[in-house]
């Protein structure tokens, strides 16, 4: 069974306004892709649409993941297939500790029929704690994180690190990082970048969605795509990020005749 993420001629609109206008992209396990685009190009719409946000309407196209058309699936079914979205703005869930939440999430994603699960369908507490502690140590996350209420009162940097910790625990096949660098200072970007780097391997495909090339200094993509007005207009390698770093998006806009929004 293929574990590629195949996006074919995808159209997404928000409140009746078309945002993604015929997008094609394939991401395989073990590959790192960067999707770069200016504000308003449709980056977050693509991320939310792929994960199944109810406010994002899929007008046409296909998204095949692990051989399944996921567009009819609920977000949790997509997660169980191995798709993950690191949010640009993670939502706070007051009163729910990160550890309690993650135990339920990990149990759900790994399947309740799986071996070693206890009567309540959750992975055994001891096993879960050990794994969580290991991952937190590996990512340099403070122990107190586990007891804190999920994203509640977290700083920008803490939220993004909590997202990466969830990525590490849920072990998806394909992870979408939606502007994980936004709102972070350069030190925080380095920390997050290095964390993601530790998780990269042949089992994980990554789609990094970003405006700026900064995060890519730490996570080097093999494939770079430029998103403009809801379509991928250029695909290539590292040289594209170099070009954007030097010249910004204006030359690309001019080339494709798209006005600044």
């Amino acid at each position: 069974m293929s574990t590629d993420l195949m996006i074919k001629d995808l159209h997404i609109s928000v409140q009746g306004k078309p945002i993604i206008k015929g997008l094609n992209l394939a991401v395989k396990q073990g590959e790192i892709h960067a999707l770069m685009g200016p504000n308003g190009s449709g980056k977050s719409t693509l991320a939310n649409g792929l994960m199944g946000h109810p406010l994002y309407d899929i007008d046409s196209g296909e998204v095949i993941f692990s051989g399944v058309d996921v567009l009819e699936l609920e977000p949790n079914e997509r997660a169980k297939l191995g798709l993950f979205l690191a949010f640009q703005y993670p939502t706070a869930i007051p009163g729910v500790s990160l550890a309690n939440f993650l135990r339920l999430a990990v149990s759900a994603v790994r399947g309740k029929e799986g071996n070693g699960s206890s009567n309540d369908g959750l992975i055994p507490m001891r096993e879960f704690r050990r794994e969580l502690r290991e991952k937190m140590k590996q990512l340099g996350v403070d122990d107190s994180f586990a007891r804190r209420y999920l994203n509640d009162g977290f700083s920008g940097g803490e939220k993004k690190r909590a997202e990466i910790l969830q990525l590490a625990m849920l072990e998806p096949k394909i992870a979408i990082l939606d502007e994980t660098d936004s709102g972070l200072d350069i030190d925080a970007i380095r920390v997050v970048g290095e964390s993601v780097n530790q998780l990269i391997g042949p089992e994980l495909g990554v789609l990094i969605i970003t405006h700026y090339p900064r995060l890519l200094d730490y996570i080097r993509p093999q494939f770079v795509h430029i998103l403009l007005d809801g379509r991928i207009v250029e695909s290539g390698g590292w040289e594209l990020t170099q070009m954007l770093e030097a010249e910004g998006y204006d030359p690309i806009r001019e080339k494709y005749g798209i006005d600044e929004e």
């Binding site: 109810p54 949790n76 993670p90 939502t91 009163g95 939440f101 339920l104 209420y149």
Partner: protein, 472 residues
């Protein structure tokens, strides 16, 4: 037996989400005729062998009850028919101190509810009331020896007549309201607690209330006296079978917190949704005493209950935590009242309500600061969570301040489960139901963490049961 329970639930076509909805076929040793008059009250007094002062007290209260008009505020009581209720149902001849002596069929009910098991684990004393009468009451020996009294109120009248007579009805007089008058006329069972000066009861005392008969009125009467510098935690739980017709639960709970004492009273109310739950609860807190009500209302058809604290002397403190969960066909009219009758008294009210599937929850609160009660502080926080557009939440706060030198804060927030929260949790593999349940549990977490661990677990489980099948 198993068949009759299944029938009860299935024949009625009532949702059997309520896991305590079974009915056990227990033949009462006495059951008064339906409806209420002086004859029924006299019959009760005769069977109980009560002293004359209590008979007069009851008959007097009955006169007050007859004169009171039907309560018009709060919830809808128009379907409540006082003539269609059995006011006294005696399931057992006496209250036992050994679980082995409780009649087998009654014991079976409580076994199914896990009561004796709970006692062995973590309680200092347990009382169990079945319909009108307490069938079991016990306290650990060490507490008994140092003078802690934990009895059913009927027995307390016989064994501690002076103490009971001194305080009974002084905190909540018969004329206080319609249902206090009714309780004063026909009360039966409930707990009497006395904690001697300086004694700290480390583990909770628990009372368990079970309605088993159909069209039953349960009117327990509880009186707790915490003497100077003492400390006690009292916990009550309640369930009933799911019948199609109404039952009425109308308790009166009076608490005296003497100088420097500390009382916590925790309720997990889980009546079946055919029960009218109309309860008056009040505490007097004297100098530097602290009274805490932790009031969780998940069951019943209609609950009207506003635990109150009267701060009578300087330094007194009243804390009230209220959780209400109103689901389909339920109205939780819950809240709290605090009366600052003396200077330098402090109160805190925290209310969290959840409405779902067309349920309605109301917060009804009263903060009163008497003239001359300088330097008082009161802080009220009301949070309401509404799970769908069919459900409703209202807030009715009243603040009466007769003194300028005072500090009152009131915050109210209404929130809906956000689409972003649901999407976030679902994107991590949780189903919509799991995600909603998690958000609700998080919402009440600040209160649940105040509960003893076993109750916190129970509370979370009850929330989960309420949430099951809630998402289409």
């Amino acid at each position: 037996m198993a068949n009759s329970e299944t029938n009860t639930i299935e024949e009625l076509g009532v949702s059997n989400d309520y896991q305590y909805g079974f009915h056990d076929d227990v033949k009462p040793t006495f059951k008064s005729r339906k409806g209420l008059d002086e004859g029924v009250i006299n019959q009760m007094c005769d069977i109980k062998g009560e002293p004359d002062w209590m008979r007069q007290y009851r008959l007097n209260a009955y006169q007050i009850f007859k004169q009171k008009p039907m309560t018009k505020w709060g919830g809808d009581l128009s379907q409540l028919d006082f003539d269609d209720i059995y006011y006294y149902v005696k399931a057992s001849d006496q209250s036992e101190r050994s679980w082995d002596d409780v009649p087998d069929d009654i014991k079976k009910t409580f076994d199914r509810l896990g009561i004796p098991e709970a006692e062995r684990k973590f309680l200092a004393g347990v009382g169990a009331q079945y319909d009108s009468e307490v069938v079991y009451h016990n306290i650990v020996e060490e507490l008994d020896k140092i003078g802690v009294v934990f009895l059913d109120t009927d027995t307390a009248i016989k064994e501690y007549p002076d103490l009971v007579k001194k305080y009974f009805g002084t905190i909540i007089p018969s004329a206080d309201n319609q249902f206090a008058a009714l309780n004063s006329a026909v009360w039966s069972g409930g707990s009497f607690v006395y904690v001697p000066p300086g004694v700290k009861v480390e583990y909770p005392l628990q009372a368990y209330f079970r309605i088993n008969s159909e069209n039953m009125g349960q009117f327990e009467r509880t009186l707790i006296i915490a003497d100077e510098g003492s400390q006690v935690h009292y916990v009550e739980g309640c369930t009933a079978p799911t019948f199609s017709s109404q039952s009425l639960h109308s308790a009166v709970v009076e608490i005296v917190c003497m100088k420097g004492s500390r009382v916590r009273y925790t309720t997990i109310q889980n009546w079946a949704n055919n029960v009218y739950n109309l309860v008056t609860k009040r505490a007097f807190a004297y100098e530097d005493a602290q009274m805490e009500w932790v009031d969780g209302n998940l069951g019943s058809k209609l609950t009207m209950k506003y635990p109150s604290v009267y701060m009578m002397e300087p330094g007194a403190r009243g804390d009230i935590l209220s959780i209400a969960f109103a689901s389909k066909g339920q109205h939780q009219d819950a809240g709290a009242k605090v009366y600052h009758c003396a200077p330098h008294t402090t109160s805190q009210i925290t209310s969290k309500s959840i409405s779902k599937d067309g349920g309605r929850s109301s917060y009804r609160g009263w903060v009163d600061v008497a003239k001359g009660a300088k330097g008082c502080k009161s802080h009220v926080v009301c949070d309401a969570l509404i799970l769908d557009k069919d459900s409703r939440s209202d807030t009715y706060p009243v603040i009466e301040i007769g003194e300028n030198d005072t500090n009152i804060e009131h915050e109210a927030r209404v929130s809906k489960i956000g689409e972003e929260q649901l999407f976030y949790l679902m994107s991590r593999g949780l189903s919509e139901e799991e995600a909603s349940t998690m958000i609700v549990n998080g919402f009440i977490e600040p209160l649940v963490k105040e509960l003893p661990m076993e109750y916190a677990v129970e509370m979370n489980r009850l929330i989960q049961l309420q949430m099951e099948g809630s998402v289409g």
